[in-house]
């Protein structure tokens, strides 16, 4: 078990705290935002949400929209993954799990939370839910997966090759993979320009990409006790919906829904995603386990 302490915390506003948790010798930055009271203005109680970002992401990059909007109705804690120290050649799922657990135990001691993970973060959140059922009684996976398959390995291989060659094509390739067809159909290259220079390429990202290549948490899924919502992205080329369907099939208390976006759902359809998560957190049993919840038509 990770030993964790809150090292520092600064109050940014009435309901917004930033701090750092020490775990395994590294400092993990977190944000703690939103009402401390579980009763929202509509009278429903929502447990705190813990947001876990994806590969190469950060609180701001993956949850820049979701965090302030979710925090208008419930307490939200989000953390930035940190590269383990001392530097090693390998990043394991265990490293990232311990960082999530540390943030939960330090910021929300004794509380059961709703874990929300996106992409690699969904893998981490699912593993935490399996290993620590006391910590999370609700789980939301967004574009998550259980075992890396051939399509993902192919993509990962191209990525690694471009990265090794320091290719100028890498940002475009990442956008090409991340964004959904319907979204791209409405966008121009000019509009995408800022996105194409967004990514930070560093060794920690390389470690996460290496981890992505060998994910296999299939043995853990049956142990997830949390009330779970699995969200697949219909036009996802990086983690196609069959992966979310597999999570839906394996996690006992799971319900499933889809969003018509690419993998970059936090960017393409943040308003839809935030409302789905908020409603699940207010009433997780609204749809019984096994439900395929159709995407709402507007």
């Amino acid at each position: 078990m990770a030993t964790s302490t809150v090292r520092e915390a600064s109050v940014e506003g009435p309901h917004h705290v930033e701090g750092v948790v020490d775990v395994d010798g590294v400092s993990v930055r977190y944000v703690d935002s939103g009402p401390r009271d579980e009763a929202a203005e509509d009278g429903t109680a929502r447990p705190p949400i813990v947001l876990v970002h994806g590969t190469g992401g950060s609180i701001e990059r993956d949850y820049g929209f979701l965090l302030p909007l979710l925090a208008s109705r419930q307490r939200v804690v989000a953390l930035d993954f940190a590269r383990p120290e001392p530097p090693s050649d390998r990043l394991t799922l265990g490293h990232l799990e311990r960082q999530v657990v540390a943030a939960c135990e330090a910021v929300l001691p004794g509380r059961s939370v709703t874990l929300v993970g996106y992409s690699l973060g969904a893998v981490v959140a699912t593993a935490v839910a399996a290993h620590r059922p006391d910590l999370a009684d609700r789980l939301v996976t967004v574009a998550g997966w259980a075992r890396t398959d051939t399509q993902q390995k192919l993509r990962n291989g191209v990525w690694r090759r471009l990265r090794t060659e320091n290719s100028a094509a890498l940002p475009s390739y990442m956008a090409f993979c991340a964004l959904g067809g319907p979204f791209l159909a409405q966008a121009t290259l000019e509009q995408l320009a800022p996105l194409l220079q967004h990514g930070t390429l560093d060794e920690f990202l390389d470690l996460q990409m290496a981890l992505n290549e060998s994910i296999d948490i299939t043995d853990l899924l049956g142990r997830v006790r949390a009330t779970t919502l699995v969200i697949g992205c219909a036009h996802d080329q990086m983690v196609p919906v069959r992966h979310s369907k597999a999570l839906f099939g394996a996690i006992p208390d799971a319900r499933y829904t889809e969003i018509s976006s690419g993998h970059a759902v936090v960017f393409e359809r943040p308003a839809q995603l935030v409302q789905i998560i908020d409603r699940f957190n207010a009433d997780p049993d609204r749809h019984p386990a096994g439900s395929l919840i159709p995407e709402a038509r507007v």
């Binding site: 929209f65 302030p68 909007l69 979204f183 308003a271 409302q275 409603r279 038509r297 507007v298």
Partner: protein
């Protein structure tokens, strides 16, 4: 009401229907179409004008167009594959509503020229009695679809009577007044004005725009649909819903800025600022066009032609209100005097105190307006305690700053139909919301709206009630949250149909 026997003989006998609907805009026609489609034929729609279309019938000013893309600004149950552009112009939207009335079989139900003069709940017959310019109508249920932008607001301008040229409101455009070669004053700089100014500037010799406060203006990504796209919309039944969804969720993200999420608000302001800097080079004009309040407090306007029109040689921006009129002259609050021949009032609509509220009375004869002395309120934004079987569609707390009102209207219509079914299933029990439920809901919205830009410092807008400062017009949340919260009739908020015996507990 004390009609003489003489007027009585001239009035037809009361016409009765299960449901009375007021108005033939999106709210009224949407309600009627859904009633008709589900096989409810006992309804009458009261319309004061001689044509359907609401706002889109009345606002015939040059350049009138919608600020919400048309595929979304139309009924989900009546997709129109033939929208000519992303943002259709007024006449095309009006045509859509006329087609809706005809094709949905609503025309036989509509009574034109039936301006409502009074509606009251009869506690004896348990019916609504609605008096109109063409007779009395009775119905078990009353649905108002009177809209936010139906009664235009005329400011009290000193010297108006003495002004010697034409003066008219944008929503009552005087097409008989040619503007070619004239000096025209446009009073106001809101949604109507930014559409009107570029058009008027084409014809008029001189234009002066009186601006009390500068609006935020962002680009209008308009374009025509190709014939191929239109045919895909016709041939593939999934194409329109998919297109609607893309637009809807794109717009829906705009709520983050209204909630004052710092990053999203900064991004929205940067987009507006970049638009201004791209289109206006003159630093003085730029400064005058820079808003001094938070983005989203008032409606964010969408135009690519407004700023360029203001940079034309014969167009001037007067950065103050119109103070008074003198013959041949419009005097600004700044003291500046502008020689003008025609005055166009783009001064908006009666929103905080809608005129219909004075016409609708409860069983004791108290009007909605009196109930609403501190501002409009309705449970689920639809029903009012003390007013049984009354439903307000597009009434209090339904307005959106970031998405399509038709989405809200459709959710409300579904709610109303659910209420009708519930009433029927319980022996025609009256639908009457409890005061407690209404208080709870109103309090919830007040708390929800507290941290939004509508309550930001220095924000004064038509979304707020001037008497109480309450946010009475705006729905202070995501548009889809409206449907989630208010799209399904919820019996617990209403007076129970029968006394249920207390459960026996061992």
């Amino acid at each position: 009401m004390n009609p003489t026997s003489d007027t009585l003989t001239h009035l037809p006998p009361p016409e009765h229907a299960d449901v009375l609907v007021i108005g033939t805009g999106f709210a009224g026609l949407g309600t009627a179409a859904r009633l008709k489609r589900r096989g409810t034929h006992s309804f009458v729609v009261l319309e004061r004008a001689d044509d359907v279309g609401g706002t889109w019938r009345d606002n015939t000013y040059p350049g009138a167009a919608c600020d919400v893309p048309s595929h979304l600004y139309s009924f989900s149950f009546r997709p129109n594959p033939d929208w000519s552009r992303l943002f259709a112009r007024g006449p095309e939207i009006h045509r859509y509503l006329r087609d809706t009335a005809r094709d949905e079989g609503l025309l036989p139900h509509i009574r034109f020229g039936a301006e409502v003069t009074q509606a009251r709940w009869d506690t004896v017959t348990r019916h609504w009695v609605v008096t109109t310019a063409r007779g009395v109508f009775t119905g078990r249920f009353l649905v108002t679809g009177t809209g936010h932008l139906s009664d235009h607001s005329l400011p009290d301008i000193p010297g108006l009577a003495g002004f010697d040229g034409p003066v008219f409101h944008s929503a009552r455009w005087d097409h008989g007044t040619p503007l070619a070669g004239k000096r025209v004053a446009v009073v106001g700089s809101g949604a109507s004005a930014v559409q009107i100014v570029p058009e008027v500037a084409e014809a008029a010799a001189e234009v002066v725009v009186f601006q009390r406060s500068a609006p935020y203006v962002v680009p209008r990504p308009d374009r025509a649909y190709t014939d191929t796209e239109k045919r895909v919309f016709r041939r593939d039944p999934e194409a329109v819903p998919a297109h609607r969804a893309e637009i809807f969720w794109y717009l829906e993200a705009g709520y983050a800025a209204r909630r004052a999420a710092p990053h999203q608000l900064a991004e929205a302001k940067a987009a507006a600022r970049a638009h201004l800097e791209r289109q206006v080079a003159d630093p003085e004009l730029r400064a005058a066009l820079t808003p001094d309040y938070e983005l989203g407090c008032k409606r964010v306007l969408i135009s690519d032609t407004y700023y360029p029109a203001l940079t034309r040689d014969h167009v001037r921006l007067e950065p103050s209100a119109l103070a008074q009129l003198e013959p041949g002259t419009a005097v600004a609050a700044s003291g500046a005097r502008h020689a003008v021949d025609v005055v166009v009032l783009c001064t908006g609509f009666e929103t905080a105190e809608p005129p219909y509220a004075h016409l609708v009375h409860d069983g004791a004869g108290t009007s909605l307006a009196e109930h609403w002395a501190q501002g409009m309120e309705a449970y689920a934004s639809t029903t009012v305690a003390g007013f049984p079987n009354l439903f307000l569609v597009n009434g209090p707390n339904t307005g959106l700053g970031h998405n399509s009102i038709v989405h809200v209207i459709e959710a409300q219509v579904t709610y109303v139909l659910g209420a009708l079914d519930w009433s029927r299933a319980h022996g025609d029990h009256d639908v009457e919301v409890t005061p407690a439920a209404q208080r709870r809901y109103t309090g919830e919205l007040a708390r929800r709206g507290a941290d939004t830009v509508w309550h930001s410092r220095g924000c004064e807008s038509w979304y707020l009630d001037p008497r109480s400062g309450r946010l009475t017009l705006i729905w202070p949340d995501f548009a889809d949250e409206f449907r989630h919260r208010n799209g399904t009739f919820d019996p617990p908020a209403y007076r129970a149909p029968t006394l249920t015996p207390a459960p026996v507990t061992p």
